[in-house]
């Protein structure tokens, strides 16, 4: 008998479904942000401030409680193709490319947020995705720093633009206080539909489907781009052996992950937890020894 508790998909028995996910092919992203808008509309996500960052066309800046898709824009003095060619570069003496990438929750195989959630609010669905049950979340905030990608955040509501956050909780007037993130449109999946962002994507940069199929498709796409000599083409989160056991939502990038604000070698913090618990227990035992020595040293 295994000492490990039953894991997905066995926990779902007959109700288990194939693992569903996203393959975001950034080589064909045109930066239209239809995914951001569709996500906000479908999931009724509140507005969270209108600012001009001056960072290319990106005014969303990061994923958070109120942004579950985020299109990154990178302007680079780098050629599009490894041989220095490329459509844009040929028009100009200096090479230039504009990278766009729609970021989203990775729905990790080993999800730090899910592991550390003390209430069981975060759970793995029958589709293998990771979802917050908002009727259970008590806003402890542990998942926020536990995510290696900085996806989750606490929502502060209701707030008029420019309002300071409430210093103290006021019953009935409280800010939302719970954490929010991409659900991979769990409600739409239940109804047999694809997530809102994938549905709205006009170039099929965001592809939704069974993860196995997406991985095959991504491998073929990378092969094609490599043959065509695209500069920096690489799959990110495709490898089931990486620090989070592979992403449920993975990417084809045209530069290193950190260029898009992504960690180059993410690892789930609970990877080392067994060793950490042993260390915690030994340290606890050591406090007993120190206290015993202090007491045995005499009364005065």
């Amino acid at each position: 008998m295994s000492v490990l508790p039953e894991a997905w998909p066995d926990t779902y028995g007959d109700e288990a479904k194939p693992r569903m996910g996203f393959f975001t092919d950034t080589s064909i992203c045109i930066g239209c942000k239809a995914c951001e808008v569709a996500c906000k509309e479908w999931n009724a996500i509140p507005e969270d401030g209108l600012v001009w960052t001056g960072e290319s066309y990106d005014n969303t800046s990061e994923l958070g409680a109120n942004s579950w898709r985020h299109v990154a824009f990178v302007e680079q003095r780098k050629p599009l193709k490894v041989d220095g060619g490329g459509d844009t570069a040929e028009l100009d003496a200096e090479p230039l490319r504009w990278l766009m990438s729609s970021d989203v929750c990775k729905h990790c195989t080993h999800a730090g947020c899910l592991d550390v959630c003390p209430t069981g609010s975060l759970f793995r669905t029958e589709f293998g995705t990771v979802v917050v049950q908002e009727d259970i979340c008590n806003g402890c905030g542990y998942c926020v720093p536990a995510c290696p990608f900085g996806v989750l955040d606490k929502r502060h509501l209701p707030r008029a633009p420019g309002d300071e956050p409430l210093a103290l909780p006021v019953l009935g007037k409280k800010e939302d206080g719970r954490v929010w993130k991409c659900t991979l449109c769990y409600d739409r999946l239940k109804g047999g539909h694809e997530p809102a962002c994938a549905k709205a994507c006009p170039t099929k940069s965001i592809q939704f489907g069974p993860l196995d199929e997406l991985r095959e498709r991504a491998d073929k796409r990378l092969e094609k781009l490599t043959i065509e000599g695209w500069n920096g083409a690489q799959l990110y989160g495709r490898d089931p052996e990486d620090g989070v056991g592979g992403f449920g939502a993975f990417f084809l990038l045209l530069d290193e992950p950190e260029v898009y604000g992504l960690p180059p070698d993410p690892a789930v913090p609970t990877k080392n937890l067994a060793e950490m618990w042993v260390n915690t227990a030994v340290a606890a035992a050591a406090t007993l020894v120190v206290a015993a020595l202090a007491v045995l040293g005499g009364r005065e």
Partner: protein, 294 residues
Amino acid sequence: MTTEMQSYYGRPIVKEPVWQPEIPFYFFFGGIAGASAVLHLGARLTGNRTLARRTLFIGAAADVVGPALLISDLGRPERFLNMLRVFKVTSPMSVGSWTLFISGGASNTAAVLELLGKLKSVKVAAEIVSAAAGPPLTTYTGTLIADTAIPVWHEGRHELPWLFGASALASAGAAAAMSVPSADAGPARRLAIGGVVAELGLMEAMQHRLGFVGEVYKQGDAGRYGRISKLCTATGAALLATLGKRSRAAAIGGGALVLAGELALRWSVFRAGFQSARDPRYVVIPQRERKARV
């Protein structure tokens, strides 16, 4: 080692914690509660009644303050009972909530029975349970913050439970040394001094081992709190060691300095996590090196 790297407009990769000031205060009070329970049992076993009584009340009070701080920090305080909805060994916060629940229940039961002078056998059982829950209560908080993607916390996972354990012993010792007559306060003073020495050594060792990632301990708020902490704990421990036995005033002053220093230590570690999250270099550079090694 290179400190040059690419980033997305210099933006952070991991999120800063959303925890409020309640959390470092909780680490401090939770530590006092856990370590007081241990000191209490030791005093009881060696027949030091004065010390036993005071440490019991100090521990019980800290065991009430701790959960109150935690509940206040929640985004939805009215849902605090959801913490006991499941038990998850993968969540140090879940394990900690149960430990705190058991510790607080036991220490307060014992304290009430001590005041009432009733049900001696139940009181002894509660004291034993409290002393058993105490040690993990002092160390789990180190693992709680280490079990995150914050570089300076996660990479400090080897030392943090030891550091927080030592800090808790120092705090509980100092609190007891302040409230017990010098003639009965020997164990408390020694615990405070020993805790401070261990904590200072562990903090140095951790920062040394962390290297580049640990440099946040020298900067900003973390650096400021760290310097205050060292100054207070070292002076307080020295005062307790030299005059603490003879002078009640020195015991109170020294104990207060140690307490202030240990509180500052929790704040230093807490703020270091925010500073570490804010700068993507601490995420990217170690991960790049890890990839290069494979």
